[in-house]
């Protein structure tokens, strides 16, 4: 018998019962996803790294077209972070290491988007040509959608839904 079947009926309606229901929901979700966290982070990190490499190439192309110069420092930071290797250096990275790398990569995505937004503002100089910017934004938006889809499998897997 599950907690929901054996424990809940014993508790009268009220704040305590609702807290027990919340606890059961959390336990259910953890039990459904605990072994998926590592693979999720690994896949997420790999996708972000590959996409950032593609974006780096797009920024380089924009620079060679004579625009996007103000994104050069960011492009170099991206390249350095990607060259550091992250999970490639370790055969079986721990979930903690994967998580730390994921946060680092998220930070780069935030920085990249903010730099692009700043570069496209009226005050920005050397902004990428509109076609390159559109391509980068489209690429990033597709990545964000894939990230959310993977996250959905962890946060709301079918087995944990009511």
């Amino acid at each position: 018998m599950s907690l929901r079947e054996s424990v809940l009926p014993e508790i009268p309606a009220g704040p305590t019962r609702r807290q027990i229901q919340a606890a059961i929901g959390i336990i259910r979700r953890v039990s459904a996803v605990w072994d998926k966290t590592g693979p999720y982070l690994y896949a997420d990190n790999k996708d972000i790294e590959e996409t950032l490499r593609q974006v780096g190439v797009m920024i380089e192309r924009a620079e060679s077209n004579g625009c996007g110069a103000d994104l050069e420092p960011l492009r170099q930071r991206l390249a350095a972070a990607l060259d550091r290797g992250g999970q490639r250096d370790v055969e079986y990275p721990s979930p903690a290491a994967l998580g730390a790398r994921n946060v680092e990569l998220q930070g780069l995505l935030v920085e990249l988007q903010e730099a692009l937004h700043g570069a496209s503002s009226p005050e920005g100089t050397g902004r990428p040509a509109s076609a390159e910017r559109i391509e980068i934004v489209t690429t990033l938006r597709a990545l964000l959608r894939r990230m959310l889809k993977r996250e959905m499998e962890i946060t709301a897997p079918p087995s944990a839904r009511k």
Partner: protein, 337 residues
């Protein structure tokens, strides 16, 4: 050593007696009866009680509801504007509870709180959204459109709502973006590039409001008391502000609580515009629907953060951050190409 539940209730009753003694001039033999918690919400505790007293030898009685600030919850909101707005709207034609007394600093009632007269009805959202309730829920949704029309056409300049920050049609959207972004930056637990993308899009596409109205801020099924197919009072005014009224319409139709199944949004808009004369441009509605997904994401993140920081032990907030995935997926789905 923590007080037993019975002790806590007696303690609160005593505090209420003292508070009301200070607020009810000439009142004698103040009694608090039937004090009990009402189960609702994460941000405030609600209690109901009856207060009786003698006034010039006549017994007076009022059935009351007290809203008191909880320990940290989903949003850090101030109760004072909420008390003041329902006081201001009392005779406006917008159904609200009668605001009675306020302890703005929590000097009497341990935490900031206000008391209003109890209004009959329930807030039962699941009941409203059941397919078998379609008939009465459609009627209620039509009333909601009428209430929105009334609220948004109230001449707020004559109501003394100077406690609400001023805004203009050109800045209304930007003010909301700024407010929610500052909350996000304060409470986020990771960089969150999807939210960054969302804010960038919102900042690049702010609509100009057709007019500035009182905006409820949490206008939806689940935030009013109803009996049968009649709405008795709008509740939960803690996100009230001056702004673009379209924001309320967009929020009312979020998939979590919206009456789309029995009163589609376009019918709601038609009825609202007929009653209020306020047009609802498609792009503005889309903007505020997108902002709505971001808003709810941030409300969830704030709640999760308060649990992680140890400011609340409410387990409903422990996993609240996981709900943002669906909201943000909806945001991306609605983004124009």
């Amino acid at each position: 050593m923590s007080a037993s539940p019975t002790g806590a209730v007696e303690n609160l009753a005593a505090r209420l007696r003292r508070f009301l003694g200070a607020n009810l001039e000439g009142a004698l033999e103040i009694r608090i009866d039937n004090l009990a918690p009402i189960t609702a919400g994460n941000a405030r505790q609600a209690w109901e009680f009856d207060v009786r007293w003698l006034e010039r030898s006549e017994e007076r009685k009022v059935r009351c509801v007290m809203l008191r600030k909880a320990e940290a919850g989903q949003l850090e909101t101030d109760l004072v504007p909420e008390f003041r707005i329902i006081s201001a709207l009392w005779d406006s034609g917008v159904p609200v509870a009668r605001a009675l007394w306020m302890d703005s600093e929590g000097r009497w009632l341990e935490r900031p709180a206000f008391i209003m007269e109890k209004v009959a009805g329930v807030t039962d959202l699941p009941a409203l959204l059941k397919p078998e309730s379609a008939g009465s829920s459609r009627a209620i949704a039509q009333q909601l459109a009428a209430i929105a029309a009334r609220l948004h056409t109230v001449d707020w300049s004559k109501l003394g709502v100077d406690f609400l920050p001023a805004t203009t049609p050109e800045t209304a959207a930007a003010r909301q973006i700024s407010y929610w972004e500052s909350l996000f930056l304060k409470h986020r637990m990771e960089p969150h590039p999807v939210m960054t993308a969302a804010f960038i899009w919102l900042k690049e596409h702010p609509p100009v409001a057709g007019r500035i109205s009182i905006v409820h801020g949490d206008f939806r099924f689940g935030n009013f008391l109803y009996e049968g197919d009649r709405i008795n009072a709008m509740l939960d005014w803690e996100m009230v502000h001056l702004g673009d009224p379209v924001e309320d319409l967009a929020w009312a139709y979020r998939s979590l609580w919206g009456p789309q199944a029995f009163f589609p949004l376009d019918e709601f808009v038609v009825r609202y515009t007929e009653l209020s004369g306020i047009p609802v441009p498609y792009e503005t509605l889309r903007f505020y629907r997108l902002l709505g997904e971001v808003k709810h994401s941030i409300i969830s993140l704030t709640g999760a953060r308060s649990f992680m920081d140890g400011r609340t032990r409410n387990l409903f907030l422990a996993d609240r951050a996981s709900t943002t995935t669906g909201y943000l997926m909806q945001f991306l789905d609605w983004l124009p190409e």
